[in-house]
């Protein structure tokens, strides 16, 4: 396997620990993801895919087990260090686009860089323009998010996920709300970025056709990796 980006060792996640409603969502998950790998994560609803994605994305912490990102044990990091690591290493694409409606497409792409550096700059603006061109939306840079179609918004979301040049992009059903043509375009965009820049992708999807076009498929059933 190529250089390792992500490693999960016996990761468990339990909600409501100690309460009658305690529920273990993930059981002893072991997973590795190499540099430049495009992995599809499948499984029925409620199987723990999103929980796994949140843990990998450093938005949630595992109850037990270890999560290593580029060899760093994230269990040893505090909230600020996790935020910094997340901002510099991981990009997110969500099912519901989640662009910030107060900003234009270009400004949405600039946001992660702006949050990191504090002030806008010509370099940040140029990077946003470059990414807009990459996703084929250079003419829509000044459009507010709400004035774009679902497919366009999702392409902006992909561009935003790539803004910080992350090693890993986590995509939670990014094509789930799109028609088949737009879904195909968004998937191809991510695949192209993966091939050209070597960015690793972890794609949660219910679409078997798309999953088959990935490098590897992992199935999660009842909180365990099935195969």
């Amino acid at each position: 396997m190529a250089e390792e980006i992500l490693r999960l060792e016996r990761v468990c996640k339990t909600y409501n620990v100690g309460l009658p409603s305690e529920v273990e969502v993930l059981h002893d998950i072991d997973l590795e993801l190499g540099h430049g790998e495009f992995l599809a994560l499948m499984g029925p609803s409620g199987s723990g895919k999103s929980t796994l994605l949140n843990i990998v994305g450093l938005l949630d912490r595992p109850t037990s087990g270890r999560l290593l990102i580029k060899g760093r044990d994230t269990g040893l990091l505090d909230d600020n260090e996790l935020t910094h690591l997340r901002g510099h290493t991981i990009g997110f694409v969500f099912q519901h686009h989640l662009l910030i409606s107060a900003f234009t497409a270009r400004e949405n792409i600039m946001m992660p860089m702006l949050a990191d550096r504090g002030f806008p700059s010509a370099e940040i603006a140029a990077r946003a323009d470059h990414l807009l061109a990459e996703v084929g939306l250079e003419r829509f840079g000044n459009n507010l998010a709400n004035n774009m179609s679902g497919g366009q918004q999702q392409r902006v979301a992909v561009a935003r996920a790539l803004a910080m040049n992350p090693d890993l992009v986590l995509a939670d059903e990014p094509t789930g709300n799109l028609d088949s043509k737009s879904a195909d375009a968004v998937f191809e965009l991510m695949r192209r970025v993966n091939r050209e820049s070597g960015t690793s992708f972890l794609l949660v999807t219910h679409n078997l056709d798309l999953a088959r076009r990935c490098d590897r498929i992992i199935e999660v059933v009842d909180g365990r990796i099935a195969h």
Binding site: T83, H88, F92, M111, L114, G118, M164
Partner: protein, 408 residues
């Protein structure tokens, strides 16, 4: 995007701009609150200044008098009293003992701005068949006019006061049928007699005072009242008028004279002024609180509305501190912009009210006092109130769990 503006500022302004209607309504609410504070503060400050001016420019702020003459019970030996019941003696008009020394002492006090010895007593003003009892006040014009602004109340003639002149109240002049330039015969209780020329008429805005008041030169007063070289009171003004009572008590403890402050001699007026100050403060506090709660309510709604966006910002690497500052800034901005509109509204309302509201005699109801400091303090106060009001929503936003926020 302006390259000089930080991320938090850009996000705060955009969030406020996007929720235009919400922002406009809360700025309207803040403006009304700030407008009320500016209007009331400026108007009450003007009215207070007017009252204080009326009262304190027509009387001294502290007056030193001879202490009451008391008779003590005769004692034969320790614990043995000859006469237990002692009749209060009649109070003779006597001079303050060693008054030049006391005056020098008073002038040496840093809180004191002016000191003037005076002599007061009763006399009969006679003109032809008419006669009226008057309160004679013998003064040194140079120093006394710094304490009681007699020249400001002159309605006819001038405030000239040589040893041959007298300044009397308008009502007294009317009763005696006299005017400026006329002679007036003054007769003291001791039968001493002096004819003086009316140099000016004063109107203190009080009929009783205008019927009795009569100012003459100190030496003329001393000779008429049979107290050569003596004075009955020492009048003073001080820097802080509200410290008058404290200073008076200190003087009384340190000297052998009785010290009366304007606060003690005008207790009802002082209480009214204080009540007005308290009421004004209370109104300002409650208006400020309602403005603060308005800002907090709007921002809490904004945090709820934007929870997904806050979640995505956190996922993108925005720290809790940055989220906190985005919402604090919104509170501060709302307060500041609201204070600008509010201060303008308050000032315009004040100018209009000043032009419309008139007293019975047509004079202004209150002086128009629009100090720059009032606007600066109000802007600072409104901005700080906005920041404080935004604290709870900002902390809530910063604490949002991104997983829960994104899931909605």
């Amino acid at each position: 995007m302006n390259r000089w503006l930080p991320f938090e500022w850009i996000a705060a302004v955009r969030f406020l701009r996007e929720g235009r209607l919400q922002t406009a309504f809360i700025i309207g609410g803040i403006s009304i609150g700030v407008g009320v504070i500016v209007f009331m503060s400026a108007m009450l400050a003007g009215m207070e200044a007017n009252f204080i001016k009326r009262v304190l420019t027509s009387q001294p702020q502290i007056q030193l008098l001879t202490p009451d003459q008391v008779a003590r019970p005769l004692r034969n030996a320790a614990g043995e009293i000859e006469d237990a019941v002692v009749q209060r003696p009649s109070q003779r008009v006597i001079s303050i003992d060693q008054w030049p020394k006391i005056r020098a002492q008073m002038l040496a006090m840093p809180e004191v701005t002016a000191v003037s010895p005076t002599i007061t007593g009763s006399a009969l003003a006679i003109r032809g068949d008419a006669s009226r009892a008057v309160t004679l006040t013998g003064i040194e014009p140079d120093t006394y006019f710094n304490i009681v602004k007699v020249p400001d109340y002159i309605v006819a003639g001038s405030a000239r006061l040589t040893s041959e002149d007298i300044i009397i109240g308008t009502e007294l002049a009317k009763n005696l049928g006299a005017t400026v330039g006329d002679k007036l015969n003054l007769q003291a209780a001791s039968s001493a007699n002096r004819v003086l020329t009316i140099s000016g008429l004063v109107d203190f805005g009080n009929k009783g005072a205008n019927q009795r008041v009569a100012f003459i030169a100190l030496r003329t007063g001393q000779s008429l009242l049979g107290m050569i070289g003596g004075v009955t009171t020492i009048d003073m003004t001080i820097k802080d008028i509200y410290a008058a009572e404290t200073i008076a008590r200190r003087i009384q403890a340190a000297t052998a004279v009785e010290a009366d402050s304007w606060i003690a001699t005008n207790a009802q007026f002082y209480t009214a002024v204080q009540a007005q100050i308290y009421t004004n403060t209370l109104i300002r506090v409650f208006v400020g609180l309602s403005v603060a709660f308005g800002i907090a309510a709007v921002l809490i709604v904004s945090v709820i509305q934007r929870s997904k966006e806050i979640g995505i910002l956190r996922a993108m690497g925005t720290s809790r501190g940055q989220i906190l500052r985005v919402f604090l800034l919104q509170g501060g901005l709302l307060g500041f912009v609201g204070s600008l509109f509010g201060a303008t509204m308050g000032a315009l309302a004040l100018i209009y009210w000043h032009a419309v509201a008139r007293q019975a005699d047509g004079s202004e109801f209150f002086p128009l006092i629009l100090e720059r400091n009032l606007f600066i303090y109000t802007a600072v106060l409104a901005t700080v109130t906005g920041l404080l009001a935004a604290t709870a929503p900002a902390v809530r936003a910063a604490k949002l769990d991104p997983v829960v926020a994104i899931r909605g």
